[in-house]
């Protein structure tokens, strides 16, 4: 290399490292990444104690990575290059074969661990005098047949089949798969619109199908709401999308089938974010303006939410919930005088006590199969 050429290379390299370094320091920090749907690390000044423990250094490393200039562009470049290299996934998200559907990895657990988890549901049934229903929403990877060939880490149906077998006598398992799936040779394409393409949740259509099966399982005549949809958003990018970096994917739409306040307009919603009641609504249009639009349904995760419908005849239903229940709740509210949505992750009240104190008539334990396999709070079912 000649001297001139070496100077050129030296300058090029220094421009690259100094340029981005300076840009990092002078550009203002972002609080939130819309693309990734999470808060970004901020610079925190060091103290003697955070220096000694290394806490400052760890925080600083996160800060640099999170606030790196053009962060979203780098993430996109990586996702594109993974796809160009023939990868069928990025950051543990499968690219669907239609090029538009994303699948998060599904966690399969051992039979022993599943038995322990179902055991907590059985324990709940032993503790209370009312009927206990138990149901698991199959994962999108079970229902939608657009996975890369031979993809591991998917829902093969074994969780639901295993849970069904492991249920004790006091528990009635309700299988939702018939109306949700098109997998395993079932040519019915219903799965395709039962789940969002960019999110792990079921759609309003999926929740409605789930509701139909649940009512049948509980022995109630469900209501036929026909097929009248209202589109409330056409720009929903879910959590699976956020992890994937795959920004070539089109957004999902969010629909509702039940109007605010229910079909008869008498439904009231009360939230208990910190134990005290707060008047609320079934839908939260303000959430459609932010990234996590699924929180449109009931406003997002909360310890307890009670929905009352004075016109209904189905008694009081306690739902042990995860977020899938939020889009199901408007349908349930049509059938039950009270629907109590109880989240074990944020609520430590004794369920036994809660059922007795509130005159609950039936309990529904409803989780997505993946959440059921991974949640760390299921033991509270038996308390």
């Amino acid at each position: 290399m000649s001297k001139k050429y070496s100077i050129f290379i030296t300058v090029l390299f220094c421009l690259f490292i100094f340029g981005f370094g300076i840009a990092l320091i002078v550009s203002p920090s972002r609080d939130f990444s819309e693309q990734e749907n999470r808060y970004l690390s901020q610079f925190k000044a060091p103290t003697l104690s955070t220096l000694r423990t290394g806490e400052f250094m760890e925080g600083f490393e996160d800060y640099v990575t999170d606030q790196f200039p053009l962060r979203d562009g780098w993430i996109r470049l990586k996702a594109l290059s993974e796809r160009a290299l023939g990868k069928q996934e990025n950051n543990s998200v499968y690219f669907g074969t239609d090029g538009q559907t994303l699948f998060a990895h599904f966690t399969i657990i051992s039979r022993d661990e599943l038995a322990q988890r179902v055991g907590f549901v059985n324990k709940l049934a032993d503790n209370v005098d009312v009927p206990v229903y138990f149901s698991l929403v199959p994962d999108k990877s079970w229902a939608v047949n657009l996975l890369p060939d031979n993809a591991p880490n998917i829902d093969d149906g074994s969780t639901i089949e295993g849970a069904m077998e492991l249920c004790g006598e006091g528990v009635t398992f309700i299988d939702l798969r018939f109306l949700l799936g098109d997998w395993c040779g079932n040519a019915d394409p219903r799965g395709n619109n039962s789940f969002y393409r960019t999110d792990h949740h079921w759609t309003t259509m999926g929740a409605y199908r789930g509701y139909t099966m649940l009512m049948e399982g509980i022995g109630l005549q469900g209501t036929d709401f026909g097929v009248s949809y209202t589109q409330v958003s056409d720009s929903f990018y879910g959590t699976t999308y956020s992890a994937s970096g795959a920004d070539w994917i089109k957004p999902d739409s969010i629909y509702t089938m039940i109007p605010e306040g229910g079909t008869r307009g008498n439904i009231t919603v009360t939230r208990y974010p910190e134990g005290e009641p707060i008047e609320s609504t079934m839908y939260h249009p303000e959430k459609l303006e932010v990234k996590d639009k699924y929180a449109y349904f009931l406003g997002g995760n909360q310890p307890l939410c009670i929905i009352k419908n004075p016109d209904a005849v189905g008694g009081k239903l306690l739902v042990i919930r995860d977020s899938y229940s939020d889009s199901l709740a408007p349908f349930l509210a049509e059938e039950f005088q009270e629907v109590h949505l109880f989240d074990l992750r944020y609520n430590n009240m004794s369920l036994k006590q809660y059922v007795a104190d509130n005159g609950i008539d039936q309990v529904l334990v409803l989780y997505s199969a993946n959440n059921f396999n991974t949640d760390k709070n299921l033991f509270k079912l038996g308390l």
Binding site: K3, I9, T10, F13, T65, Q88
Partner: protein, 477 residues
């Protein structure tokens, strides 16, 4: 700190370059010493004390050895060398092997050594008792200094700043190459800084970063899948796919790190010795170790094997010497029994080659010896990588056909997904690209180089910014 991270590449290193090049020549070692200590203290804020201790002890021992020799006091000089070696080995032994020894003794019912979980600090606080980063590397470097001063192979360094710069030199502090003082002595006092050297450092650093971030990190998750697969579910092809991925990951991880170290060194005016030379081209076990982690092999040869008598002794003694060296090499890689077994595994192959196998290999066709060389390295990595004994047996069994069948659908998925990167990695493990590059006309190279360099840096940055997976395998050692 690690080189392949945004905060190193875009903040720490530019600041180092700036401070280094605006300082007058005679201050540059001091600048380096300060930034070296920040580099080390970044990951080990408390253990940086070990650096000061190492500098003080080895510096003073070098001085004592020189003074004793000047006075003709050979016994004194030898005692000082012994004291320095003992200090370094105690340092390494305490931090790296204490809990291993204590745990192993307890396992056979002789639990008289307590297992240490926390180290108390003055003032009542305590820190977790972990392995200080790079301790296996820098204790070996400083040990060689006193020995070389005694042997007359190295001069005594009288300037403690210069000596401290050697001990802590950040490009090679935490994962090698293991540099002997005698190889760096001249450069510590007079080194050339030129644009030519800087540009060649840029080239080397970029290659190393790409090897580490684009190849090693890309292959890592594939190995993790197979490491986590329960033994009963491992298939033969799956087990091979996993361990081939690990073999390539480890090579690109470690040789990429060495390339980055050499490149950074050049940008600061240093010239370090090479550490790798296409190890997977080897046709024998002995050749593998002349191509893999060259600085470690040469250290053990020079400071352990030759002093024991090397190969110029009776066959039985030679076998004994090899046993010692390979047991030491194995356990150097980690305080766990599998590393000792891995060392002994190499002892067996190298011993056999020295005794008779080598002569056969010389006559065998090249394709056969290539397969032999690669396969024993890969099988060795299975012993190296699967630390848990209850998993190592099933893994090896699966590799040799005693697993859950030949292949499974997961294997098909992973092969389909990793085939492009595996092919790229296998080609990159040969000198093909380097040969092709050299054959290009000078003008083509000049045109292509900046484009390739920027592409390499851009993709490396993308994978670092969106990097959930970025370990350094040789960090534990």
């Amino acid at each position: 700190m690690i080189f392949s991270s945004p905060y190193f590449l875009f903040l720490y290193f530019p600041i180092v370059l700036l401070l280094y090049y605006i300082s007058p020549l005679k201050w540059r070692n001091l600048v380096l010493l300060v930034v070296n200590l920040i580099f080390y203290g970044w990951g080990e804020p408390v253990y940086v004390v070990i650096m000061f201790l190492s500098i003080a002890i080895d510096y003073s021992h070098g001085r004592i050895v020189t003074r004793c020799k000047a006075k003709g006091n050979d016994r004194g000089a030898r005692a000082a060398v012994a004291s320095s070696v003992v200090f370094n080995l105690l340092l390494l032994g305490f931090f790296k092997y204490w809990n291993f020894i204590a745990g192993s003794l307890a396992a056979i019912g002789a639990g008289f050594l307590p297992v240490i979980e926390k180290l108390p600090l003055p003032g009542g606080a305590s820190i977790p008792f972990t392995l200080p980063i790079g301790i296996s590397f820098y204790t070996f470097q400083t040990m060689s200094y006193t020995i070389d001063v005694y042997r007359g192979d190295a001069r005594c360094q009288k300037n403690i700043v210069t000596f401290g710069t050697f001990v802590t030199l950040f490009p090679q502090l935490i994962a090698g190459p293991i540099i002997k003082y005698k190889d760096l002595d001249e450069q510590l006092e007079h080194r050339d800084h030129s644009f030519e050297k800087f540009a060649s450092g840029v080239q080397r650093f970029t290659i190393g970063a790409c090897k580490k971030v684009l190849l090693a990190n890309a292959l890592g998750p594939l190995w993790d899948v197979y490491l986590a697969t329960p033994g009963a579910q491992l298939t033969t092809l799956g087990a091979w796919l996993g361990i081939v991925a690990f073999s390539l990951q480890l090579y690109f991880d470690f040789s990429g790190y060495s390339d980055m170290a050499i490149g950074l060194g050049r940008m600061l005016g240093f010239e370090f010795l090479e550490n790798f030379n296409y190890p997977y081209l080897s046709k024998s076990a002995s050749e593998f170790w002349r191509r893999w982690h060259i600085s470690l092999g040469s250290w053990f040869r020079e400071y352990l094997y030759f002093p024991l008598g090397g190969s110029r002794v009776k066959p039985a003694r030679m076998v004994f010497n090899l046993l010692i060296v390979w047991a030491a090499t194995g356990i150097w890689h980690g305080a766990s029994w599998n590393f000792l077994i891995w060392g002994l595994y190499w002892f067996v192959w190298i011993g056999l080659e020295k005794l008779f196998l080598g002569k056969w290999l010389d006559k065998a066709p090249a394709w056969l010896t290539h397969i032999y060389g690669v396969v024993i390295a890969i099988v060795g990595w299975a012993i190296f990588a699967v630390e848990d004994f209850s998993a190592m047996g099933p893994y090896l069994a699966a590799m040799f056909g005693f697993g859950a069948g030949a292949l499974d659908t997961d294997f098909l998925y992973y092969l389909r997904n990793y085939l492009p990167i595996l092919v790229i990695a296998i080609v990159a493990a040969t000198p093909l690209a380097a040969h092709t590059w050299k054959k290009l006309p000078e003008r083509a190279r000049q045109a292509a180089f900046p484009v390739l360099m920027l592409a390499g840096l851009v993709f490396t940055t993308a994978y670092l910014v969106d990097g959930t997976y970025n370990p350094f395998l040789y960090f534990r050692f």
